[in-house]
Symmetry: C2
Subunit: 413 residues, 2 copies
């Protein structure tokens, strides 16, 4: 018998138990041994729950039981979860998790710990929910130099933008609908300001580039300032606005990572990723573009990734499954995002003759693509710049700030 | 030093050497040892090739060299490749391949052989070129019962259909263009009649359902009979026509597998997969739908999957990487495709009053959705049936064959 413990019986925890029990026969066959969930740790009581007999409140029971080979840490956060994970890995017990905060904050340390104790720390569920992405990036694409990762990594913001684009809802109304549907929390900051997506792009970039990229060093802007005017201009120019987590290696070897709204061309499959779905495109020097799409959150989709990791650990008892990035002591290898080349959508409020401003912009930027929308106010102008270093774009806009006040800026993907 | 041999220096073989050498430093770091390609076996001469010093013509040099841990079999076919692979696995050397014919024909036997000799037989490149699909299905989705696999598994036919849909080219003209672009071979039968896609869906279904599904038992129809009339009706009804390899488990536990053209709804991301790209959607009982998209063929994309498998084998020396399906001695577990429920697009030539036929069809089928196209001949009628067992649809069409001759039938996905 191979024994498993679950820490945290919330949405993902109960989904993990449900999916595991449902497909237990097939899982036993894969692992070639009977497998069972022996303990479920949660501080709450669940009277009448079918698994009530396995509920415990004392972490040490799991830590000290030599029969437990794998633990699913599904409490979240970086406090208790951090202590539990360190203790378990140090005891040679593999840990699998959906905890993006913990992986983004302490991933390098925990991976190293697993490696030192011949066990594994796996976190397929931490990015993209049920979408296979960690293992494909780590294994299938291992022969590639990763040129770029770009993804819709947060379902809540994608739902909001989808409703803004398709149903002409304002940001505020779309957020309210997301909250009513249970897609957004009462305090939606982590989602709408991009912090959740930021943790996820940091995990993917750390894996791709072999060095821990801490969220604190990554520029992050959300979608709360996007208006229906921006959506209309995007539509007319052939784009959809998406919140994109992006990482790439610049020519100087530095890593450029960022979360921000982007104009995504309609011909890019990412622009067709609607509702709460997630999708990640990885560009490798061998494979070109590959895209991974699916439910980026939710009880059973996330449980799917957790159970997959549990099975992998059970099949590799006493072997550390190779997955690695080095810790980083400084952020010297992270590029300043203002140094990256980008093309920018800009919406301005014009304070003098619009024809003058247009010619001034063309002169300043070289090529400028002016775009239109229905009912454009006379003093509004929107345009897309050619590709240049972002700092240069800012400088050029600053030069004309008396004549044209910037109301919105969104990078093109 | 960890040593590798390449068998077959054609497109994929030379791409594998190129990608490996390009990223060798990073690969060495991942494997934590220096890695090198020691031999390249090909019967042809390559004078002046940068790797000429490693060229050999005698397979036994590879077989008998204890330094060789991993061999990439990139010759294709099921004759030499079969003998080589058996000999290598029996000698405990891992084999990785892009050879879908060999995997679809002898996969169960070769996997078993690898398992018995503590080495691995990996074939990520055999389906979807560089798209990660074998490992995600085998590992990441291991906790799911796989409800359905449906994919665009052949780039040549997708290119042809794309040109028919987007540029109104006839099948013949689009095929010619595909040949001119090097996407289709002089004898295009294996691609256009669906045999290539059939091998690939068999590999995926064998992995998902744990039993070897031989291509001979799988119904397969191609795209050569599709006309621009069908394309026009599809467009008007909100569909794109795609060649889809499909496998699912029926309620009675039997496997339904098939390759055939399908009407794919425009809202389904598969309908937006254009040009020579491939995409595979897997539906699991936990994860829901996940889609994998990318270049399904080509030198470096396929090499990306081969090199990924090589790295995995090098990191698991003397360990058989778990991947398994049982051999099957009969085809009793394969459902008769006529027993599966489906909705069908039908185009008929009408031999009596069209209003009569319409009412007759509505009476026979219950609900029928009639569809239109520009310049529809007066004696032509196209419609989509409700969902029913395919055998029933055939029976019903047979009942009215004197009045309406079937010119085209395409299943809905």
């Amino acid at each position: 018998m191979k024994n498993i413990a679950i820490i945290g019986y919330g949405t993902v925890g109960s989904g993990t138990v449900e999916l595991f029990e449902k497909n237990r026969e097939a899982i036993d066959k894969k692992v070639e041994r009977d497998c069972d969930i022996k303990y479920i740790l949660d501080l709450r009581d669940f009277p009448g729950d079918p698994y009530e007999d396995r509920m415990i409140k004392d972490f040490n029971i799991i830590l000290n039981d030599p029969e437990i080979e794998v633990v699913a840490e599904l409490v979240g956060g970086a406090t208790f979860a951090y202590d539990y994970t360190k203790a378990l890995l140090s005891a040679g017990k593999s840990v699998v998790t959906s905890n993006k905060e913990l992986v983004a904050t302490h991933g390098a340390e925990l991976i190293k710990l697993a490696n030192e104790h011949n066990c594994s720390y796996l976190f397929e569920a931490s990015v993209g929910g049920g979408i296979p992405i960690i293992r494909p990036l780590n294994k299938c694409l291992a022969g590639n130099k990763i040129l770029q990762i770009s993804g819709i990594l947060n379902g809540t913001t994608n739902f909001i933008l989808y409703k803004m684009i398709n149903d002409q809802m304002t940001f505020e109304d779309a957020l309210k609908l997301a909250q009513e549907n249970g897609y957004a929390e009462a305090n939606p900051t982590a989602d709408v300001e991009g912090h959740d997506a930021c943790r996820k792009i940091c995990i993917l970039a750390s894996l791709a580039y072999g060095k821990h990229i801490y969220p604190d060093y990554v520029h992050c802007s959300g979608i709360s300032h996007i208006t229906l005017d921006d959506v209309a201009y995007a539509e007319n120019a052939g784009f959809a606005i998406k919140l994109i987590g992006c990482a790439s290696m610049l020519e100087n070897g530095k890593i450029n990572a960022m979360v921000s709204p982007r104009f995504v061309e309609k011909s890019n499959l990412l622009s067709n990723v609607n509702d709460v779905f997630n999708a990640i495109t990885i560009t490798g020097d061998g494979v070109g573009d590959v895209m991974f799409y699916g439910a980026g959150a939710g009880k059973l989709p996330t449980a799917s990734a957790v159970v997959g990791d549990i099975i992998d650990c059970l099949m590799h008892h006493s072997i550390s499954i190779p997955l690695h990035w080095d810790d980083s002591e400084d952020n010297n290898f992270i590029a300043d995002y203002k140094d990256a080349k980008v093309s920018m959508y800009v919406r301005v409020e014009v304070k003098e003759d619009i024809a003058n401003i247009k010619s001034k912009l063309s002169e300043t930027f070289g090529t400028v693509l002016f775009i239109e929308r229905d009912n454009r106010p006379e003093n509004e102008l929107a345009f897309i710049t050619s590709t240049m270093v972002e700092r240069e774009i800012d400088k050029k806009l600053d030069q004309i700030k008396d004549k044209a006040e910037v109301k919105s800026k969104i990078r093109l993907l």
